[in-house]
Amino acid sequence: MQDFLVQINYNAWILPALLLIPLAGALVLLVTGSLSSDDGTLEGAPSARMVALLVFVLEFVVSMGLWWSYDPAGSRWQATYDHWWIIPWNARLSLGIDGISLMMVLLTTVIMPLAVLGSWTSIRSKVRSYYALLMVLTTGMLGVFVSRDMLLFYVMWEIMLVPMYFIIGIWGGERRIYASLKFFVYTMAGSLLMLVGILYLWNASSVGGSPATFDYDQLLTIAHTHKAALWLFGAFFLAFAVKVPMFPFHTWLPDAHVEAPTAGSVILAAIMLKMGTYGFLRFAMPLFPSAAMTPWVRTTILTLAVIGIIYGALVAMVQPDFKKLVAYSSVSHLGFVMLGIFALTLQSVQGALMVMISHGISTGALFLLIGMIYERRHTRLIEAYGGIARVVPLFSTLLVIVSLSSIGLPSTNGFVGEFLVLIGSFRTHPFFAFFATTGVIFAAAYLLWAIQRILFNALDKPENEHITDLNARELTMMGVLVAAIFWIGIYPQPILRRMEPSAALFVRTVTTGQANVRTAARGDR
């Protein structure tokens, strides 16, 4: 495999290709038909959704080469690409991946085809525009994960918002306008300060006559005064904390999740929530280590993380709407990620990365399953169900498996990440880890209670007696995710191995404040 990839010079073109393929797909949809056909049927949809599926499957297949082409021993940029962009500002189209980006890119390319399949029959209006927006969204998301230029990163960061705004606002539920506006303004408000921060960095990079730059590696070497670092960290923190979302910046999430169409919720949960934690890992902490290491900053963030874990779980427990329950469970899971990142041990950071991946798979799967049952019964209220395990055994089996992975049962993906986060955090912050561990109890409480009320108990509502079980398309989607659940749960080593050097570099960069990545990268391994 490696030889073949070298032969086709894979590393040189893969990243720009990954960004361009979805854009090209969107273009195809734009030129081949009217975007606004809206008759509420699937008229015209078969071709549009088929194009989308083909594009995303192609994207996935092409991206899989990264799994083999990525050298696990490296801690820094691979598959780099660099091209001029905005010359006067010295902004460049420079792309690259490290172990962290690698897994986020692959997570994205795995989830996207499933998101298309999850929309297959549920999206019935303006079908063309819908899939075109999904493709633009993908370019934006991948762009965030592979940018090495901070202006490019910022542009990608904002680009992503627009398609998601429309996806929620047009194809969403009853309160979609409120939810989409809240989503947009909330995250936008967070990111504006980050733009100020990026411009400050750009300005600061021009010392001694050298031109200002947006190049991440160079910005990393700038030394800031502690006060400046704190302000800059604060600006980035706000942008990322909203996106994570950290308690108490999370209230956009339940609304956005509930109102978004299935694929929107899946993408939000599986990929877009990782942008915030990715931002901390890539930017906020390595760029401003002195701020991130300030005791009160760390304590505050760790406290918010642990509150998020417990608070998210408890609030999830009392939600009447299953989608909202899963939304709050995300607050809880992302609390584990933040705990792992700020505990700053190798295990905790690796664990945080694993939780990011696992949460993408498990929560994505949960949202897909909710979408499937919603399509049949048109309600997400837990109390509208009950006893349906007897009617839809396949759906029920899958819901139980996915819930168990979300609960973090050992031998599923959920356990690996949570365990690594907790055992790693316990070394440096036993107090926080102790309280975070109570999350395992609450997670069992809210999910088991919910699935009992949906699947078990008496089948006492006549409208539930004839729900049809999953079809082949739905089983295929879930098959992929269930396979991932057990693979990561039992043999996560190939993933851990690829992320470890980058995670170690992150820990070293932040804890030592030594930002000279080039030498650090060489010295690594």
Partner: protein
């Protein structure tokens, strides 16, 4: 890693059947996959490609053109409607019941066969002082954390493997008859197979974390099997309760592992044992670690204060109660402490705590057992009580005695549960014939069953004598082993010299011994009571039903007979020095390489000579057991009992016992309800929607709109107003400059 390989290479078991240790859990796992697939297959009928446009199932199957699949679907699910309630049977065998009844028990039998081969190899290998470790592949290796999928075989895990696969096979065979007509037949065997697979992972794991995989896995299977008849809310509730209460224990297990790793840098049993001394003898750290592990044990093995899930777990089918909630899973806590003997031996405080909690649990549960009417509830509280004895044993460092009681208990309690299953089966069939809806598990509806089910009757008496501690049945030896160990520890050794909560260890242990005797007395009473009410006196089932009461088929009584023999003679496994009826202390010698050092560390060296005290202790134990039985026979009047529907409520302390000291109600009112309502009213509607969302988020939007409104009012378009504003502004600026 290299050490492991070197050890494995030169290990006496290296070229024996032990090589295939991985197959032990893989066989039942394969059974799970097959049976699981069988249980889903009739259900599979591809849904419509577009689920939202297709009509509901009705119409879809009407023109599906696949009438056969449609019918199978309808039959299965139609009948599952009937499969509700406690141990209820409907007459409709599952389409693949035949395959499942071969696959389910067969994989277990194969696993048991392999276990026996490994055991023979181990017995033939002579002195084996280090465990045989087999590492399969890395699980989580990152930085200095190195966790692999690895199994270890030593004398302790061997014993557990034999019990699990042996008793497991018998219970699987029993289930063929018991679950015969259940529409969820393959699903039942799938869960049961999966349980055995996880249970074997639990006892074979070479590190705390692999053990934990099994630990949580068996919890999952317990959840699935308690809620097997999930259409009844009470059953689903019981399953969920079991899982969540166990998770509280698992929280303790996790914290203990984190502490171990933070301080020793490893979770492998062999490395922990080697590094344990660095924790410091009787240090706060080692005590904390042990107590957190014990919290895990209290959850899994149903000890105070986490025992509440086990009585409810009786909602599961009776073979499940026998296998999981009596013979194997609930003893995992005892195994964990025996496995962690090295750690516990370093903390007398933790040891005494374990023994105290075990003793109090034993006594507490025994008192509740006195007044239960549901035959399975009696056995459930009896199990909690007997587990308390085991903790009394392992808590006082008598690991072999604790394990001995674990084994004999697996025999006689599995027998009691399966026997009660056979009774319930007969009662059910009788009530089913007459279409009555009486409670088939309430002893007030039984009575005089000895006439109808003689085999079950005799076998259950053997088990009752065993659990009551009447010689020469197995329970006598194992219970006596524990009680005399507690007495010996009170006299000399590390525990007698320790202080516990300011009290001298010796006094505490004498008190525990006393309470242990009282519990033994109560045990004899409640067990005799159960037997009297079930099998003796006149029959209260009902005139019409009596004709239909009969013994279960041989596929069910067969396993009972085997367990009956084991319950009777199991005591010979570990004869005390005082009763030389054969080889002395076989089990103790077998386990010596694993727990010997820890035993000596806690209890001191034990002399070989028999003292008069020992004869006295044995005499006291026998006397108290027989006294209990006599008291029950003399005082209880099965003839005066009335069927459940005519029963009058009891009063006073009897009522308190019948209502189990209201512990569930207290937990409900003080923990669960406040937590749920607090989450709903304070966290969600208060903080989330009230403060964060309304005040801050939407509040800031309102604020922005307000500012905009004020601004818009200024832009009135009236020139006069603008002129005034300019004039005032100019004056203000001038003023500011003037009076600066």
């Amino acid at each position: 890693m290299l050490q492991d390989l070197a050890a494995a290479g030169s290990h006496p078991l290296a070229d024996t059947a032990a090589r295939y240790v991985g197959l032990l859990p893989l066989l039942p796992l394969a059974g799970f996959l097959v049976n699981g697939a069988l249980s889903l297959m009739p259900a599979y009928k591809a849904g419509p490609a577009d689920p939202s446009t297709a009509g509901h199932g009705h119409e879809a199957s009407a023109h599906a053109g696949d009438a056969r699949a449609g019918d199978a679907h309808a039959v299965t699910h139609g009948d599952e409607h009937g499969a509700v309630g406690d141990d209820h049977h409907v007459v409709a065998r599952h389409k693949y019941a035949g395959v499942a009844s071969v696959v389910g028990p067969l994989v277990l039998a194969l696993s048991f066969g392999l276990a026996v081969m490994i055991w023979l190899a181990m017995a033939g290998a002579g002195e084996m002082t280090t465990p045989y470790v087999q590492t399969f592949f890395d699980w989580m290796v990152t930085g200095d954390l190195k966790i692999s999928w690895a199994f270890q075989l030593d004398q302790l895990s061997m014993i557990m493997v034999l019990v699990i696969t042996g008793v497991g096979t018998l219970i699987h065979i029993f289930s063929i008859g018991y679950m015969r007509d259940d529409p969820g037949y393959p699903r039942f065997f799938a869960y049961l197979n999966l349980f055995v697979a996880f249970m074997l992972v639990l006892v074979l794991g070479a590190s705390y974390l692999v053990l934990f995989v099994g630990w949580e896995g068996v919890g999952l299977c317990s959840y699935l099997l308690i809620g097997f008849w999930f259409s009844e809310k009470a059953n689903a509730d019981a399953g969920k309760k079991a899982f969540i209460v166990n998770r509280i224990g698992d929280f303790g297990f996790l914290i203990a592992m984190f502490l171990l790793f933070a301080n020793l840098g490893t979770l492998d049993f062999t490395s922990v044992a080697a590094a344990a001394p660095t924790l410091g003898y009787n240090s706060a750290l080692v005590t904390t670690i042990c107590l957190f592990f014990f919290l895990g044990c209290a959850g899994k093995s149903a000890q105070l204060p986490l025992y509440v899930w086990l009585p409810d777990a009786m909602a599961g089918p009776t073979p499940v109660s026998a296998l999981i909630h009596a013979a194997t899973m609930v003893t995992a806590g005892v195994y964990l402490i025996a496995r962690s003997g090295v750690l516990f031996a370093m903390s007398p405080t933790a040891c005494i705590t374990v023994a105290v909690v075990g003793t109090l649990t034993a006594l507490f549960a025994a008192t509740i057992g006195l007044k239960q009417w549901d035959i399975k509830k009696v056995l459930a509280y009896s199990t909690i009580s007997q587990l308390g004895y085991m903790f009394m044993g392992v808590g006082t460092g008598a690991y072999a005695a604790g394990m001995f009681h674990l084994i004999t208990h697996a025999f006689f309690k599995a027998l009691l549960f399966l026997g009660s299953g056979s009774v319930i089966y007969a009662m059910h069939a009788a009530y089913h014939h007459t279409g009555s809806h009486e409670d088939a598990q309430d002893m007030r509806n039984m009575g005089g069953l000895r006439k109808y089910m003689p085999v079950t009757f005799v076998l259950m008496w053997i088990a009752t004598l065993a659990i009551a501690g009447v010689p020469p049945f197995s329970g006598f030896f194992s219970k006596d082993g524990i009680l005399s160990a507690v007495f010996a520890r009170a006299q000399h050794g590390a525990l007698s010299e320790a202080t516990w909560l300011g009290m001298p260890g010796s006094a505490v242990l004498y008190a525990l011994y006393g309470l242990g005797l009282v519990t033994a007395f109560l045990t004899a009473i409640y067990m005799t009571r159960m037997m009297l009410y079930t099998f003796h006196g006149p029959n209260r089932t009902g005139e019409a039903e009596q004709a239909h009461l009969h013994e279960a088929p041989w596929s069910m009584t067969g396993p009972l007979v085997v367990l009956g023999v084991l319950s009777a003679v199991g005591g010979w496994l570990n004869l005390p020095v005082a009763i030389p009826l054969g080889p002395i202390g076989v089990l103790e010698k077998w386990l010596e390489p694993v727990v010997g050092a820890a035993t000596v560390a806690v209890g001191g060296a034990v002399g070989e000579e028999v003292t008069n005290t020992e004869y006295g202790l044995i005499g006291a134990a026998v006397a108290i057991a027989i006294l209990g039985i006599v008291v029950a026979v003399v005082k209880l009047r099965p003839a005066a009992l009335v069927p459940k529907r005519d029963a009058t409520p009891s009063h006073g302390f009897e009522q308190v016992l019948e209502d189990k000291y209201y512990v569930d109600e207290v937990y409900d009112d003080t923990i669960i309800k406040p937590l749920v309502s607090g989450s709903r009213n304070i966290l969600w509607t208060g903080i989330d929607r009230g403060i964060i969302d309304s005040l801050f988020v939407n509040g800031s939007a309102v604020l922005a709109r307000g500012v905009g409104w004020v601004g818009s009012q200024l832009q009135s378009g009236e020139t006069g107003a603008y002129a005034w504003a300019i004039a005032i502004g100019a004056l203000a600026v001038l003023g500011a400059f003037t009076f600066r």
